[in-house]
Symmetry: C2
Subunit: 428 residues, 2 copies
């Protein structure tokens, strides 16, 4: 039987799990793929770190970059992380030296995927990154293979388990953002520095990659990104009373000849499918022709789910077929027009905390009317003990820039007691 | 660029859609797969049938079986249907003559898949059948590739859109079985002869195929099959009042060293995921290690969704990699022990319609106690105008054969006015 020599670079949580998985499952993987996955080398920062598994002496590679020049390496699994530094150096050099690459690094692929795929293609090697988007959810392979027949018009969903855990726990456990975040960190669902999860950057990288795959376009950085850090328990409660849940969603959609990429907290009807996805789950929804709507969901993160994705990529390479990293040749990928969402229409939820004095409501509704945003529903909720009121407005579909202009104008008013909120509604 | 010559046999709803799709999308498929899908021949029963598309003179094949011997055919798409007759003859001959085969024929694969895959393997050609299970849901490719890392312990879900449409419409529109079935036929969701959809046979074929793929076993006919034709509106209403929905589910699961295959109407908690899948949708839920739970759902039938699946198979062959039809070599597939469900434990819902006379309840509960089935909940609902009562019992987990024995004993009692019901509960 043929054999493929693998070097694993990076032995954190995921790398360690993968190494042990490959040791345990070498036989069954060989049988399924007609080729032996042979872990020839591993490399990591610290050689002498205490580990739960044994690395053979001749498996250890002192300088990780040597993996890219050794003749007895066919495939490098990059598990260092980060868009720059050693991860970037490793992957560029690997592909230049005609090594296959499997990576879980969404930041790297979202930033340098176009360049990397060109090198992979001209050197006739694979660059696979299933593990970079939604861990155990086999969305990339499904887009490239299972759903290959389809012209996709929209891809969206819940791509970040940490944010989803926090929002659904705030909702279900009646706790505020800070308390839930602390719980999530204790449970290992949020990192000690959860910035990229909470500010939308993690979803942004994943969405850029999915966009390229869905629309056969190059990666594009025209993307609107908001995280969940401004969502209050109060917003979740008002949303509930109006029949909505709040979810952090990523969307990429083609409308006429424009593609809109956006990541933001979103009000979704509470009987919609995404509203039912709670906790650390991820769900990707694809709308295309001829298939209609497909949904794939599962564990989005963690060593187990990520290893499931890495093994699917490694297996694809074991079977010996070289594929285009982004589903189609770089020569055929298109420069599509990506548009800012300011010209797109949304209906929206706005919340204003105001001093409870006369004339405020007419002042606010006047601003809406002057900016041609029509109001569908309005709730005024006085907080008598504070001498303030919450004004919640649900608008009809309106230009995003008009909605933002209203927020800007109202923010400056003296009757405003805290930063106004704008949360877009998904009513499609 | 390389070229693959295709013969499409069968030009019904699906074959016609596929033929047109391939004409329209030849270019993009060639680019994505680096090989041209060339529809060399088509064959169908009636040459002169009025069709919405043109077939070139030299594309028409008068005798379909000639596709298996012509030198300028590489791949045959079988869309005749049925486990026997021309479909069987076509596929066996095609593989024997070293032609790749793509088929949507679940009955054929569920019955002859083992023999066929051996021939395909020894002749080094592909036999692909994504379209045979849940149409547009790319479950087979996901099991064989995206989730290849996983040891599966359970696969289950909603595999028949017609039954699911009927059950969810009975629930939501407050209509009885017959009326909903007539609606479904008008809407094209049920065939004029819907027997295989309603009696569970359709799900049974799909489940056998999924079992083999999940457990690396040969196909096995030890399967318990019940359809939905005995489900009354009354059962759906009682289920609702107890916090359940009724769904026709297929299950295949490994418990210790036994595999249990079963298809039956099932009470599922109304906050479970499957409870939310309404209408003609299909959903497949896979539980495995390391990935945990994955869910894939989408359109289960129709020419569009089925074509999406057929194209994914055709593309896989265009890319030129020969794969094991059942994910692993026939030499490695196992003869696992498939067990009858009579020894498996279930909690269950039972409904007895009885004459409203004294002593009936104690008579029934005695039978439960003698058969060691303990009762978790009991509702007696008198129908005064009829002089009868409904007795609904929810049991604790009990041996299936004990539950069936109770049904058998109670059925013979003189106080019984209609056939007792037994619906298993999924409480895992």
């Amino acid at each position: 039987m043929k054999k493929l020599n693998i070097a694993i670079v990076g032995l954190g949580n995921i790398g360690s799990y993968l190494f042990q998985y490959l040791n345990l499952n070498k036989k069954i993987l060989s049988k399924k793929n007609n080729c032996i996955p042979n872990v020839k080398y591993v490399s990591a920062k610290r050689k002498n770190k205490k580990r739960k598994f044994k690395i053979k002496k001749d498996q250890w590679l002192t300088n990780y970059i040597d993996a890219t020049i050794k003749k007895d390496v066919d495939l490098i699994v990059e598990l260092i992380g980060g868009a720059e530094g050693p991860a970037k150096k490793l992957v560029f050099n690997a592909l230049k030296n005609k090594k296959h690459v499997v990576t879980a690094n969404k930041a790297l692929i979202a930033k340098y995927g176009d360049q990397l795929s060109k090198i992979a293609e001209s050197n006739n090697v694979n660059l696979e990154f299933e593990a970079s988007v939604c861990g155990g959810v086999p969305i990339i392979r499904s887009l490239k293979e299972g759903l290959i027949a389809n012209k996709i018009r929209k891809v969206y969903g819940i791509f970040n388990g940490t944010s989803n855990y926090i929002l659904s726990s705030m909702d279900k456990q009646n706790k505020n953002f800070k308390d839930v975040l602390m719980d999530a960190q204790k449970l290992g669902y949020a990192e000690s520095n959860p910035t990229a999860d909470l500010n939308g950057d993690d979803v942004s990288s994943k969405l850029k990659i999915l966009s390229s795959l869905c629309f056969n376009s190059f990666l594009n950085s025209n993307i609107h990104v908001e995280g969940i850090k401004d969502i209050d328990k109060e917003d979740i409660d008002y949303a509930n009373s109006l029949g909505y849940k709040i979810k952090l969603l990523g969307f990429s959609e083609q409308i006429k000849n424009n593609i809109y990429q956006r990541v933001h907290p979103t009000l979704v009807k509470n009987n919609s499918h995404v509203a039912t996805i709670d906790g650390v789950l991820n769900a990707v929804i694809v709308e295309g022709s001829p298939v209609g709507q497909s949904i794939i969901q599962g564990a989005g993160a963690g060593a187990e789910a990520t290893t499931s994705a890495l093994i699917s990529d490694i297996s694809s390479i074991l079977r010996g077929n070289v594929k285009f990293p982004f589903s189609i040749s770089s020569k055929e990928r298109k420069k599509l027009k990506f548009n800012n969402i300011s010209e797109r229409n949304f209906s929206a939820y706005l919340r204003f905390e105001v001093k409870d004095i006369s004339g405020v409501l007419s002042n606010i509704t006047n601003i809406f009317s002057r900016n041609k945003v029509s109001i569908k529903r309005l709730i005024q909720n006085p907080k008598k003990n504070k001498g303030t009121s919450s004004i919640i407005i649900i608008t009809h579909s309106s230009k995003d820039k008009a909605l933002n202009k209203i927020i800007k104008i109202v923010s400056k008013k003296k009757f405003i007691v805290s930063k106004p909120k704008l949360i877009r509604i998904d009513d499609y």
